[in-house]
């Protein structure tokens, strides 16, 4: 699974055209992974609203636990190794905006 991290930027106010361009860039990048037959799940883009439940029962606003950094979305790809998966992350549009791509393996449990 690829998790896309980015920092929330309250000053960011893109025009509709910029949003369109951004969406297109993401779709092109995901399409490229799909073209290699390695896209398992196109995932979801996550919004900026949310709340967090803490162990002591308190609830805070915002999806971010401690840092300003949030998970902005995810996709699931198929790869034989973390190295192969990280290669697929090359060209991810999130990287050009100062974001990060975190690659994680998905655990498979016997009998499930």
């Amino acid at each position: 699974m690829m998790l896309f991290h980015s920092e929330s930027d309250p000053d960011l106010n893109p025009t509709p055209e910029q949003i369109q361009e951004e969406i297109k860039a993401w779709q092109n990048w995901i399409g490229g992974i799909g073209a290699q037959g390695k896209l398992v799940n196109p995932g979801e883009a996550l919004g900026f609203e949310g709340k967090t439940m803490h162990a002591d029962g308190t609830i805070t606003d915002g999806p971010y636990a401690e840092l300003k950094e949030i998970v902005g979305g995810y996709i699931v790809v198929s790869a034989n190794s973390a190295e192969e998966a990280i290669k697929l992350a090359k060209g991810c549009p999130g990287l050009s905006n100062g974001g990060k791509v975190e690659v994680r393996d998905i655990m498979v449990f016997e009998g499930m």
Binding site: Q27, G32, G34, G37
Partner: protein
């Protein structure tokens, strides 16, 4: 009535009669139904040759088929000393039943769902549909599928065996129909593609297969029980493709691709119909691969600035629900047209379809666009090594000659 009209009647009534015999009269044995229909046609030809074609040829055929069925049951009865269980209890007396269009239509609908059984293998599926739903003769099917009669007969036999096994399932409920619709649409698209992408040189047969697939889809679209959005999407897709069939097959060295086709040969009526169906298909919330492929086919009819960008986005979306090497390659070509050739070449190298000759054709085409003749020739040669059908080689050879001639 001339011979052409007659053979047309036989062709349509073939599938109608079998449908009525199998579903209305609940004849489980498809082979027996076919025998009765063949015998009916034999008699028709003999009698009509002497006495001329009756005023209502269709009614005549149904009457004779009913009589033959009755005869069959009488013989069975004598043989087994009881009515065979093949005859539903309430249908024992059928002397006076007039076969109405409604009965034919209901029977046809049932037949479509019986014949499009997911357990039948792909090859047998094509044969049985062309035979039972489209009324093609074994010989015509063999010609259409570049095969021989024996092979086709074997495939039909295998399909019939599966059907016989399941054929008790008559009177499907609307829910059962709806849940099986997806598979039926898949089969219809399979049939259409066989006509559209076929390497057979006989144009008539290719057109006929495409029309038959479209006819079946239109028939389904007319049935009230189905949600229409996906059926319309498939119809739109087939209309757009069919609109280019004539232009596509007019090449000397095999089928022409979009950009090689003479656009004035595109059938405008079909493009309009396709556009109409595409609009209708937008009624539901669901976006299927047919919706996306139809939208791609639609953009191919346009010559606007955003054309390739839209096609690229649609391919991107298509790849999130369905992967195939063809889609991946088409997407890469769209990328070259929408963004940059160099980027497309980079992406093409990632596809790794090294056993597919179309893949090397794509690379050759991209280098052709990049005006790198050296690489183009290299990849055409590679494609040539992998191509195993004569018509494929012919197409590649023509390209090689063209680039070397420059």
């Amino acid at each position: 009535m001339d011979n052409k009209q007659l053979s047309q009647i036989f062709k349509t009534e073939y599938s109608n009669l079998i449908a009525v015999l199998s579903n209305y009269y609940r004849l489980k044995d498809l082979q027996l139904a076919e025998d009765i229909v063949s015998e009916t046609f034999m008699r028709a030809m003999k009698v009509w040759a002497h006495k001329g074609v009756p005023e209502f040829p269709k009614a005549w055929l149904y009457k004779v088929a009913q009589n033959l069925l009755k005869e069959h049951h009488r013989r069975e009865k004598i043989y087994k000393e009881k009515i065979t269980p093949e005859l539903g209890a309430q249908k024992q007396e059928f002397e006076d039943v007039v076969i109405t269009d409604k009965i034919i239509e209901d029977s046809q609908l049932q037949m479509i769902f019986v014949v499009c059984n997911p357990e039948i293998s792909r090859e047998s599926q094509l044969c049985i549909v062309l035979r039972i739903l489209c009324g093609f003769s074994t010989e015509e099917i063999a010609r259409a599928l570049l095969s021989n009669k024996e092979t086709i007969n074997k495939r039909i036999y295998r399909a019939k065996k599966v059907i016989k096994h399941h054929h008790l399932e008559i009177n499907l409920s609307p829910d059962q129909y709806i849940s099986r619709l997806e598979n039926v649409l898949r089969v219809i698209y399979l049939i259409f593609n066989e006509g559209y992408y076929s390497s057979v040189n006989e144009q008539n047969i290719r057109f006929e297969i495409c029309w038959e697939a479209m006819r079946l889809a239109i028939f389904l679209a007319e049935q009230e029980i189905f949600p229409k959005s996906t059926i319309y999407a498939l119809l739109a897709l087939m209309c757009f493709h069919a609109s280019r069939l004539e232009a596509r097959i007019s090449g000397e060295n095999g089928d022409l691709l979009y950009h090689e086709q003479d656009k004035s040969k595109w059938n405008k009526d079909l493009i309009l119909k396709g556009t109409k169906y595409l609009h209708l298909s937008a009624s539901g919330n669901e976006i299927t691969k047919y919706h996306l492929e139809a939208a791609i086919a639609f953009w191919h009819t346009m010559e606007t600035k955003e054309k390739w960008n839209n096609i690229l986005q649609l391919y991107n979306k298509l790849l999130t629900i369905d992967y195939s090497p063809i889609i991946a390659m088409n997407r890469t070509y769209a990328l070259a047209r929408a963004k940059s050739i160099q980027e497309a070449i980079q992406e093409a190298y990632k596809l790794l379809l090294n056993d597919n000759h179309y893949y090397f054709c794509l690379l050759a085409e991209l280098y052709h666009m990049a005006m790198d003749e050296h690489k183009e020739i290299e990849y055409l040669n590679k494609a040539m090594e992998l191509a195993n059908k004569e018509y494929e080689k012919k197409l590649i050879r023509a390209k090689l000659e063209k680039v070397k001639g420059n």
